[in-house]
Symmetry: C2
DNA sequence: TTTGTTGCAAAACGTTTGCAGCCTC
DNA sequence: GAGGCTGCAAACGTTTTGCAACAAA
């Protein structure tokens, strides 16, 4: 129920964005938005495209096109963690979080820290208008830390 | 003078890394390291490769290979700002800074904030061993803010 | 009716890989 | 001498593009 409500708001926001920018309200765009908002965590263009194939006919090009629009309307956020494909996540509702990225296995974990959030959000710049931000903390996840330790032991 | 000193230290650190990990000390690797440390700000693999062509014969593959080694030895940092090529910058000396990324023109500006730095650096995790971090603040640079305003006016 | 948007396939782009020969160790 | 490293070119995977047909405004 709560989720449906939130989706309706998102749809409205998207419509407003499309109208304001003289873009067309195509069924593909709404179908993509709807699917995007069913994701809980990160997703990428390819996975979104493949999952949509099941019940909706869209091209990968349109998926990319629409992700771009959603990005511009601030309904999603884009992450470029490694050199691999870009990851996206919904941005509506603003449950801002940060990311721990393992430099070995590439796994990404989220965390939230009110203090960090406040410090960054209150920062203002004279010649730059802040819209959003990304904090990536790199290091070793527990699994890779373990493995790394064993490897080091062997070398010594 | 000061820079030369610092380069010597970097060279030592790289050598130590190579020896410790049983990698070979090839002239290409040192040539690349030297060039890397002549950059003041960001650079990418392509620009590094092209600039080296002038007085040193290396392949792009070796450039990438060496950047990977420099990354692993923490002598450089890699940034993936947009979907474009990765950007690198030297990391020795640790003058940690954050980045302002314009979402329109893609220009990246650095800034430093002691308070933000402290808050992030003192954060500890139970199951994650922090190595380094990146903070990217997205928004509009002054030029694009100006342009955007004019565009909006037209639309209204 | 106009023209922005679509699907498709081909192209672009940065990066990685396979391989034969070279040069550290 | 052994095998890690090199240059070269071809391959890779993600994203973008060109174009004719389509459909929202």
């Amino acid at each position: 129920m709560k989720e449906e409500n939130s989706y309706e708001k998102v749809k409205e926001a998207f419509t407003e964005f499309l109208v304001k920018n003289h873009h067309r309200k195509t069924p593909e765009r709404y179908a993509i938005l709807e699917r995007v908002y069913k994701y809980d965590g990160h997703f990428n263009a390819e996975s979104l495209y493949k999952e949509m194939q099941a019940d909706y006919r869209v091209s990968l090009a349109t998926v990319y096109n629409t992700l771009e629009l959603l990005l511009n309307s601030h309904l999603i956020i884009k992450h470029q963690f490694g050199q691999q494909e870009a990851q996206y996540e919904k941005a509506f509702g603003d449950k801002i979080h940060h990311h721990l990225v393992c430099t070995i296995c590439g796994k990404v974990k989220e965390f939230s820290d009110k203090h960090i959030r406040t410090v960054i959000q209150t920062k203002r710049f004279a010649y730059f208008e802040t819209s959003h931000y990304s904090l990536y903390i790199y290091g070793l996840c527990s699994k890779c830390k373990q493995k790394n330790r064993q490897k080091t032991k062997k070398l010594v």
